[in-house]
Each structure stands twice: as C-alpha cells, then as structure tokens.
Amino acid sequence: MTATEPEAEVRELTYLGAFNEALFQLMREDEDIFIAGEDVGLTGGVFGSFAGLIDEFGERRCVDTPISEQAIVGLGIGAAVSGLRPIVDLMFMDFILVAMDQIANQAAKLKYMFGGNATLPLTITTNGGAGVSAAAQHSQSLEAMLCHVPGLKVVMPSSPADLKGLLVACVREDNPTILVKNKRMFGKRGPVPEALYEIPLGVGNVVREGTDVTVVAYGRMVPESEKAAERLAEEGVSCEIVDPRTVQPLDTDLLVASARKTNRVVVVHEAVRFGGLGAEIAAQIQEEAFDYLDAPVARIAAPFSPIPFSPGLERHYVPNAKRISEGILETLGRPVPGA
C-alpha cells in the first residue's frame, strides 16, 4: 500500500467489486467520464464489471456499443481529444488485436505525431488471463505487445485494492492507459479502502519481503507466487515478491534493488515465454545488477502454443504455485522434489 492512500474504512471487496466501486466514485466525481463498450450498459458488462452504473448514470454515460472494437477505441480517442475522459471496454484482452490500429497507430502516437499538441485521457479496460477454459481466443495475456508501443501505459493489478487504486490513476491519467483485469481473480476478495484513492502508475510494490530470491510477478501470478512462497517458507526458503503493478512504465528501480538484495531473480508471467515481458525484465536486471547475480534470471511462463481449451490441458499450460516453486528451487540450486 502506498502513501497516497488515505486512512479510511477498509472492507473486504471482490476484485470486480473494487473495480465497480471505483467506477461509481469516479463517475460521481467527474461528469466528463463515461463508459462505452459491448454490453456495458443495460447488462452491466458480461462479467458484471459495470453493474448498476446505468441505473445511476443513465444511457448517456453508459453506452452500449456495437461489437466493433476499432470503433470503440476510436470513439474513446475522438472523445478524449474533444475534452472528455472516456473509459472504453474491450470484453477480452484478445480483442485488442482487433482494435490494434486504433490502439497502437492512433492512440499511442497521436500526441507525439502532433508535436505534443494533443492530450489523450483515454482508459481502455479489458480482461485477460487463462484458466477458465475460454480457449485460444479468449484467454491470452498480450501485455508484451502493448508494452512494446511507446505512448501507452499498461496496468495489470494483482489484488482488489490495487485494482481500485490503479483504475483511478488510469482514469485520471492524461495518457492512453490499458488496464487488464484477470478473469480468474474476479471473485477474489481482499481489503479495499472505501474512499477514492489512487495508486500511481509506474510504482511497483513489494508484496512479500524475503532474502533468498526475488520473484517478479504481476496480475494473477502474484497470488500464485505468494502460495509458492508460503510452501517454500516451510522449507526455509525466503522469497521476496515484487509486483511492478504497471508493466509500462516498469518500475525497474524497484526490481533492480530487490535483485541486488537477494542476488537471484525469477520472473513469472502467464504470457508465453518467448518474447514475453520476462525477457525484458531479465535483460534490464542483468544490465543494472549483473555483478550481483548468483544465477541466471529465470523465467516461468506459458509454453509456446495457443491456449488449449480442455481443463486437462490448460492446467498444464498456465504457470501455477507448483511450477513457480520448482523454478525458484532450480534458481537456488536446490533439489526439486519429483524432478
């Protein structure tokens, strides 16, 4: 938790509940904020993210759009340059690919191409992550593609409290941001301050302090890494878990500081390993902390295949606490049970 959070009443909320509460509070605060996307109005979002908003804010501010991802993002861009503060929703992260021209060629570059003469307070919200048998087109983690485009900011919250604070920061940000919720965390509960608060973009969080190894994880891989750390603690391994929270811009300083402290780093993400963010993080750590490292930076990620449908296959695809602990033990040069 950062210093920007005021002291306020803290309750248990679900991940989605925190998202939803933030939207209510933001929209009450600022008349320029509206939401637009597929089923976000009357239905309140297919996952319930936008539940109840239309009842308070009406159709004008809760806009059901056609299934037209390019036009949805374009709507957000045009409205943002016209002075509004749009939140546009793409139902699944996979669908950003449909809208990639508007995201990467338009939104990301507008300010630069115009010599600074544009402000784009646009927030794109979406849902990523595997593990719900949604198969290859509704499960992907494509953050590496987004982080590769200068001009975008990309956020992958790992808890209800972070989700709320980061969403507030995204909406108040004068740059295009993409906030990726994780589908398997929708019902996850956690303490969330009731008041409106902001977690600044680009500032990571040490989720668990430790001394033997740094585990860099974001999104749902944070709670999975926490599970792994609990188990390993019983074996006397002390894991430090660092969650960058924002993957673009990346809080490199925090990651490097932890690497220098523990001398070993394991990066965990749901996205495929090849060309994933783990490669970037590993590269940055070796650039900044090469002399501190006692082992190569390890990456625990999905294999290089589309995401399978069957639970029997999918559970072998997504990294879990077991695979994370095995990876940590390997990095520590300790025997891996069953290996």
Partner: protein
C-alpha cells in the same frame, strides 16, 4: 441554398489557397527540399472548400493521408504547414508528424492520418463528445473511396448511425486507391450505395463543383445539428498528381486522356469563369486574391526554409503527457 457572394468569395479563396500551397509543396518535393511522402490534394479542392465553408469554426474535421487541403480549408497557418512538411522545428508538429500527421487542434482539425480509414473512428468519437456535451457542434470525417473498404470505416459509420451521432461523412471518391482503379476493388459503382446499408441518407455531388459540395454539406450539417444523425456525401472528384509525389502523366494505371478530361472540369477554373460571367466577382478581384495568396505561399516557403531542424533534445519529448491532472 443559393450561396451569397461572400460565400462564393470564401469558396474561391479556400480552393485557391489549397491549390497554390500544394503546387508550391510539390515544387519543393521535386527539388528534394521535402522529405518523406507527399500526397497532394490538387484537383480535389472543391470538396474541402465546399464542406469547410459550410462548417462552423467549432465543427471538427478528421482527415486522411491526403490531408493538407483539409487543414488549409480549415484556416491552417501556411507557415507552420510548410515548415512541418519540411520537417522543421516551427512546423505544426515541431517536425514530428510531417505531411501525414499535420493537424491543428485549435482549429478543430483533428489530424491527417497515415492509416487509411484510421481517422473515421476518431471523427465519430468527436461526434460522440459533441452529443455528450449537448452542444450542436458537428464532426466531419473526410475519407477516400479506398477507405470504405476497410473494417474500421464500417465499424465507425455503423456506430455513428446506431447512436445517431452528429457526424457528416464526406467521401472524396477520386477513383483510385493508390494505383488501383476503384472499380477493380469494389463491386458497387457509387460508394454512396453503402449509406443505405447503414440506414443513413447518402447523396452524390459533383466534387469538382464547390457550390454543389457546399449545398449538400449545408444540408448534411443541418441534419446533424438537428439531431437527425449522420449523412453520407459522395463527392466525385479526381487527383491530378500521383498517389504520392508530383508525376501526373505517363502512368500505367490511368491514361493521360483521363487526366486531361478531369482537368477540363477543373474546380477553380470553372468557378472563376462562372462567377465572372455572372458578374458576381470581378476578374480583377479574383486576380488580386491570387496575388495575395501567392505572396502568402511564397512567405510560407521562406518561413519553412528558414526554420531550423528540430533540436535533438526534443527526440524523446511528447511521447507522454508528463503531468496528468
């Protein structure tokens, strides 16, 4: 609606301002004084002028890779335009955008666009903002015949129609997508036939006749202001120069006869002939406007040439807005 003499003068002024600016840009390009791509608007001036004269200053425009004409017609500063085309520090985008990204948000010109079809969804977003704010401002999407084959265009116009947004869609059908004739890549002959599929009215106008374009734009803008939703105008027009650069004749993809036939319908010559014959504007006055604009363009060229290249220190600025609210 019969245009007043003041409106006729304005149409002529804006058409000629585009023509002279573009011709000068073409000469600089040929003289290797202009880097990158150059998509000249020459031939199509009646469309930008006709629509922009019918617009209010607060109405927005989204444009295309062939976008200089729209900014000039919106009242763009020729000095800043010429400097931008040359990649200079005093350009509209400080040399970071160039021809394909030229814009002036203060004039509500939301930018040229290097992606065919990329600007139309943005115009729809601006239209949404206008409706949201409850003003009666209208956004105008200029696009070519080619962009109507792109998914983003269909998505955007359908959304505008479904949400009844105040947007005027202006198709500049110049019969070619880059170097391919339109009828090879489209099974309909009039782009406007698509309008019915979106449930909005569409009309064809002679895009070489600024008054015809103006008349239709007045009606389309009025519909949007009344809250009746989008309108589709197809202006039949032609670009004299190549898709890119300044070559006109001797091309494989179109005949010289065809180019000459369109030039015979030139929007500025025809207009000048008509208004002088009708005694509405004197030949002397038209000539004086030309002299004034030639001087403005000449000064713009000089301004651009004298402007320095951008400081290297600006390379990494403006990627993000540094301080958010």
């Amino acid at each position: 609606m019969e245009p007043t003499v003041d409106i006729l003068k304005d149409l002529h002024y804006r058409m000629l301002r585009i023509r002279l600016f573009e011709e000068a840009a073409g000469r600089l390009f040929e003289g290797n004084k202009m880097p990158g791509f150059l998509h000249l608007y020459v031939g199509q001036e009646a469309v930008a002028a006709g629509v922009c004269v019918a617009m209010r200053d607060d109405d927005q425009v989204s444009s295309t890779h062939r976008g200089h004409g729209h900014l000039v017609a919106k009242g763009g500063d020729l000095n800043k335009m010429m400097a931008e085309l040359m990649g200079k520090a005093d350009g509209y985008c400080n040399g970071k955008g160039g021809s394909m990204h030229i814009c002036d948000l203060d004039l509500n010109m939301l930018g040229a666009n290097g992606i065919v079809g990329g600007g139309t969804p943005i115009a729809v977003g601006a239209g949404f903002a206008n409706k949201y704010k409850g003003n009666d401002t209208v956004s105008v999407a200029f696009f070519g015949d080619g962009s109507t084959n792109i998914g983003a265009f269909h998505e955007a116009i359908n959304m505008a129609a479904a949400l009844r947004l105040p947007v005027l869609f202006v198709c500049e059908n110049n019969e070619y997508g880059e170097y391919t004739r339109r009828d090879k890549v489209m099974a309909i002959n009039d782009v406007v036939d698509r309008a019915a599929g979106y449930g909005i009215p569409g009309v064809i106008v002679d895009g070489m006749d600024a008054v015809a374009v103006y008349e239709a734009a007045v009606e389309g803008l009025a519909r949007a202001r009344r809250g009746e939703g989008p309108t589709f105008i197809e202006a039949k027009t032609y670009r004299y120069y190549n898709h890119h650069g300044v070559q006109t004749l001797g091309m494989k993809y179109r005949t010289d006869e065809e180019v000459d036939a369109w030039k015979a319908k030139d929007c500025i010559e025809g207009f000048e002939r008509r208004v002088t014959e009708a005694g509405l504007i004197s030949a002397d006055e038209l000539a004086a406007v030309r002299v004034e604009l030639e001087a403005e363009v000449e000064a713009a060229v000089e301004f651009g040439e004298n402007s320095p290249l951008p400081e290297v220190s600006t390379l990494l600025t403006d990627v993000y807005t540094e301080v958010s609210r």
